[in-house]
Chain length 138, copies 2
C-alpha cells in the first residue's frame, strides 16, 4: 500500500505550513504522538526540537518515525510519511533553523529553549496517501 | 508530564467530532500514524476499523496506542491520549457503531467494509495536554 515516491497530488501537504503528527516509539515499546512544525526541501523533513524532551530520548533508541499530515480543507485527505531520523544536530547560536520554521508558520517572538535546540532530519522511506479512507496509488 | 486524568479544559477535544491521529507500532517495531474518527463516552475511546488492514494486525501484536487531537481553531492546543486496546469486537450486522460515528461526523452513505467492521475500544491510561509547546498541568 505504501509507495516509495511522494504522490505529486499530495506534495502540497508537505509544502504548506501544516501541522504534522509525529509518531515515535518510546524505550518501553509504546507509541507516542505529538504535533510538530516541520520543513520540507523536496527530499527531507526537518523538525525543531529540544534535547530535554521525551521525543528526543525516544529517537536515540528508535530512529524510525511516522508523520501524518491532514489537509485542513478536507480532513478525509491525508498523507502518512514513514522514515528514519538521519541526523540530529544542534541548531546554531542564533537558532536559525527554529527562526526559519517560525517564519514559515507566521509566528514571531522569543526562541524557547534556544540553548538546547536541535534540528531533526528525517529521510522519508515511504508514503501513504489516503483519500476518504482509501489509499491513493502512488 | 503526563496526567492520569483528562484535564477538564481539554475535554472538548474528545467530545467534538475532531480527527484523531492514531499512533500504533508495527510488528517490526516501527511506528505508524493514521487519521481516524473516534467516539468518546467519558471513559473510553472507540474507533471503527476493518479486520483487513495493517493497523488491525499491529494492534494484535502491540495493544498500546497513542492518539493526538488538535483544536482546529488553535493548532497550538492539542491533547495526546496514551492507552491500551481493551477489546476489538465485530460491529453488528447493521454496522451500528460505524453508523453512529458516521452521524457524529455528519456523513452519510454506504458502509465501507461492512462485513469486516470492528469496534476498537481504547482505555486511556494517561493524558498530555499541550498549549503552545508547553505541557498544561493536569
Amino acid at each position: 500500500m505504501a509507495s516509495d515516491e511522494l504522490p505529486a497530488t499530495y506534495r502540497d501537504l508537505l509544502e504548506r505550513p501544516l501541522f504534522a503528527h509525529l509518531a515515535t516509539v518510546r524505550p518501553d515499546g509504546s507509541p507516542q504522538s505529538s504535533v510538530m512544525w516541520f520543513g520540507w526541501d523536496g527530499s527531507r523533513i526537518r523538525m525543531t526540537h529540544t534535547k530535554t524532551r521525551q521525543k528526543f530520548a525516544n529517537l536515540a533508541v528508535e530512529p524510525r518515525v511516522a508523520l501524518s499530515i491532514v489537509d485542513p480543507e478536507d480532513p478525509y485527505r491525508f498523507l502518512e510519511v514513514r522514515g528514519v531520523v538521519e541526523s540530529i544536530e544542534d541548531d546554531d547560536a542564533q537558532a536559525s533553523f527554529y527562526r526559519q520554521l517560525q517564519a514559515r508558520y507566521g509566528r514571531d517572538g522569543a526562541v524557547s529553549g534556544q540553548s538546547v535546540r536541535v534540528v531533526i532530519t528525517v529521510r522519508p522511506e515511504s508514503f501513504v496517501a489516503v483519500r476518504g479512507g482509501k489509499v491513493v496509488p502512488g
